[in-house]
C-alpha cells in the first residue's frame, strides 16, 4: 500500500513538473508576445508552419532555399528576405508593398501560398486560445485583434537588430585587427571600383530605392517586381535594394534566389550581360563590366563576410 502511495505521489510530481516544463512562459510585453507568435504554427491555415519556418534564426532569419515552401508545400515566388535589421527600413518585401512593419507582419499570414490564414480567422483562433487570450489581455489590455497582432509581431522584429559585426568593430572602435587586410581592400573596392556603395549605403547597406539590376528579361525571368505594385512601366524589373548585414548567412541571393553564393553575385555584377543577356532594363550603373580581378573578387567577398554579426559567429564555433 505504501508503495502504491509513493508511486502516486511520484506520478503527481512528474505530471505537475511536466505541466510547468512544457507551459509557454507568459509574455511580459509586446516583444515577448511577438516572439512566441513568430514561432507558433497557430497562425497558419494548416497549423503546421509559422513565420520561423521560413525565417530561420540560424540563417539570420532568412531561408536557405531559393523560394520557401508554404502550407501544403506550396512554392513561393520570391526568396525569403531576412527578418533582421528592419527597424530603419522604409519599405518591406522585394516589391516594397508594405510601408510599415505592422502592415508587413500580416501579409504572409493571409497569403494563400505562405501561411494561408485569413486575418479574421487568425484573430478568432487567438481569441479562442486560453493562453493567447490571457497574454494579449496582459500586454495590450484587450482581446487579440488585427492591430495588436500586427503590433506584437512588428515589435519583436524591431528587436532583431545586429550591430556587432567585425566591420562595426573596425569602424567604431578603430580595431584594425577586427577585419583582414583583404576585407579592408574589399571595403575600398566596395566604395570605389565596384560601385556597390552607389546603391548599398546606409546603416544596413541599402537605401530606400528600388533598382533594376537586369533580372527581368520578359522570357525566362518574368517577375516584374515593383511595377506590379505601382503599375508604372518605369518600375518594370525593379526590386528593393537588398540589405547586406549578415549577407554571408542568407544565401541564396536576389529576389528569386538565383545565385547560390556570394561569388556568383559578385560575378554577376562584374559582368551582368554575360549571365543575363538582353534584359528589358538594367541600371546604367551596370552598363559596363567592372573588370574585377579574381583577387579583387576575393577581397569584396571577404569584406561582405565581415558584416556577419558576432552572435552568429559564436554559435558556429
Amino acid at each position: 500500500m505504501r508503495k502504491f502511495y509513493c508511486l502516486l505521489v511520484l506520478c503527481a510530481f512528474v505530471i505537475i513538473g511536466a505541466q510547468f516544463a512544457f507551459t509557454k512562459p507568459e509574455p511580459k510585453n509586446a516583444v515577448e508576445l511577438g516572439k512566441l507568435l513568430f514561432s507558433d504554427p497557430i497562425l497558419s491555415g494548416t497549423r503546421k508552419i509559422s513565420c520561423a519556418s521560413c525565417h530561420k534564426e540560424e540563417f539570420a532569419f532568412a531561408d536557405t532555399s531559393a523560394v520557401s515552401l508554404g502550407v501544403h508545400n506550396r512554392k513561393g515566388i520570391r526568396n525569403t528576405p531576412s527578418s533582421m535589421n528592419l527597424s530603419m527600413q522604409a519599405s518591406f518585401f522585394w516589391d516594397g508593398r508594405a510601408s510599415t512593419l505592422e502592415k508587413q507582419a500580416l501579409i504572409p499570414i493571409a497569403n494563400p501560398i505562405e501561411m494561408d490564414l485569413p486575418i479574421a480567422i487568425a484573430v478568432k483562433r487567438l481569441q479562442l486560445n486560453t493562453f493567447y487570450r490571457k497574454a494579449f489581455q496582459n500586454v495590450f489590455h484587450e482581446m487579440p485583434n488585427q492591430n495588436n497582432l500586427a503590433s506584437a509581431l512588428a515589435e519583436f522584429q524591431r528587436t532583431l537588430e545586429t550591430t556587432d559585426s567585425p566591420f562595426d568593430d573596425w569602424r567604431m572602435n578603430d580595431n584594425e585587427d577586427a577585419v583582414s587586410a583583404s576585407a579592408k581592400r574589399g571595403f575600398i573596392l566596395f566604395n570605389g571600383k565596384g560601385n556597390c556603395v552607389q546603391c548599398h549605403f546606409g546603416p544596413d547597406f541599402n537605401n530606400v530605392e528600388f533598382r533594376t539590376i537586369g533580372l527581368y528579361d520578359g522570357k525566362k525571368l518574368l517577375d516584374s517586381g515593383r511595377a506590379g505594385i505601382t503599375k508604372k512601366p518605369a518600375d518594370l524589373g525593379k526590386f528593393k535594394i537588398g540589405p547586406l548585414r549578415n549577407i554571408a548567412l542568407t544565401a541564396p541571393y536576389m529576389h528569386n534566389g538565383m545565385f547560390k553564393t556570394l561569388r556568383e553575385v559578385i560575378n554577376y555584377y562584374n559582368d551582368p550581360e554575360k549571365i543575363v543577356p538582353n534584359p528589358v532594363t538594367r541600371d546604367s550603373l551596370l552598363s559596363k563590366p567592372l573588370n574585377l580581378t579574381e583577387t579583387e573578387k576575393d577581397d569584396l567577398e571577404n569584406f561582405l563576410r565581415t558584416l556577419t554579426d558576432k552572435r552568429f559567429a559564436a554559435k558556429r564555433q
Binding site: 562595426d168 567604431m172 578603430d174 546603416p203
Partner: protein
C-alpha cells in the same frame, strides 16, 4: 660676431618653427539624437586625426569619408555622394567646445545636406 650669428640663427629657427598645430576641435566622437520612424535614433560621428570620419546610426556605420578643416569651415566628402567632391559647412562650436553645429555653405549632395544641415552634435566624453 660669432655669437650674434649663432643667436640670430636660433631666433630665426624658433620663429620659423611651429610649436604646435592648431588643435582640431572635431577630433573624437559626437552624437545627435533624433526620432526616426517613431523610435529613437542616435547619429554618431567619429572624426579621426588622419582626416577620415565615419557616421553611425544606432551603432551602425552608414558612411565613411574624408574631411578637412579650415578655420570654421568643414570640407567633407564621401563615396556615396562623390568622393572627389567636397561639401562645405560652417562649423560653430559652443561651450567648452563640447557642442558643434553644422550649417551648409555649399553642397550639391542633397542627402548629405538633409542629414547634416542645421544639426547640433554633442561631444561624447571618452569613458575611462
Amino acid at each position: 660676431m660669432k655669437k650674434l650669428v649663432f643667436f640670430s640663427l636660433i631666433v630665426v629657427a624658433l620663429c620659423s618653427f611651429k610649436f604646435y598645430d592648431e588643435p582640431n576641435p572635431l577630433l573624437g566622437k559626437w552624437e545627435w539624437k533624433k526620432v526616426y520612424k517613431k523610435g529613437p535614433m542616435a547619429i554618431m560621428l567619429l572624426f579621426r586625426n588622419n582626416g577620415t570620419y565615419d557616421g553611425f546610426a544606432n551603432q551602425k556605420s552608414f558612411v565613411t569619408g574624408t574631411y578637412r578643416l579650415k578655420k570654421d569651415t568643414l570640407y567633407i566628402s564621401d563615396p556615396i555622394c562623390n568622393s572627389k567632391y567636397e561639401g562645405t559647412y560652417k562649423m560653430t562650436m559652443y561651450g567648452a567646445q563640447d557642442s558643434v553645429r553644422f550649417d551648409v555653405i555649399a553642397d550639391t549632395c542633397k542627402g548629405r545636406v538633409e542629414g547634416a544641415n542645421a544639426t547640433v552634435y554633442k561631444k561624447i566624453k571618452a569613458v575611462k
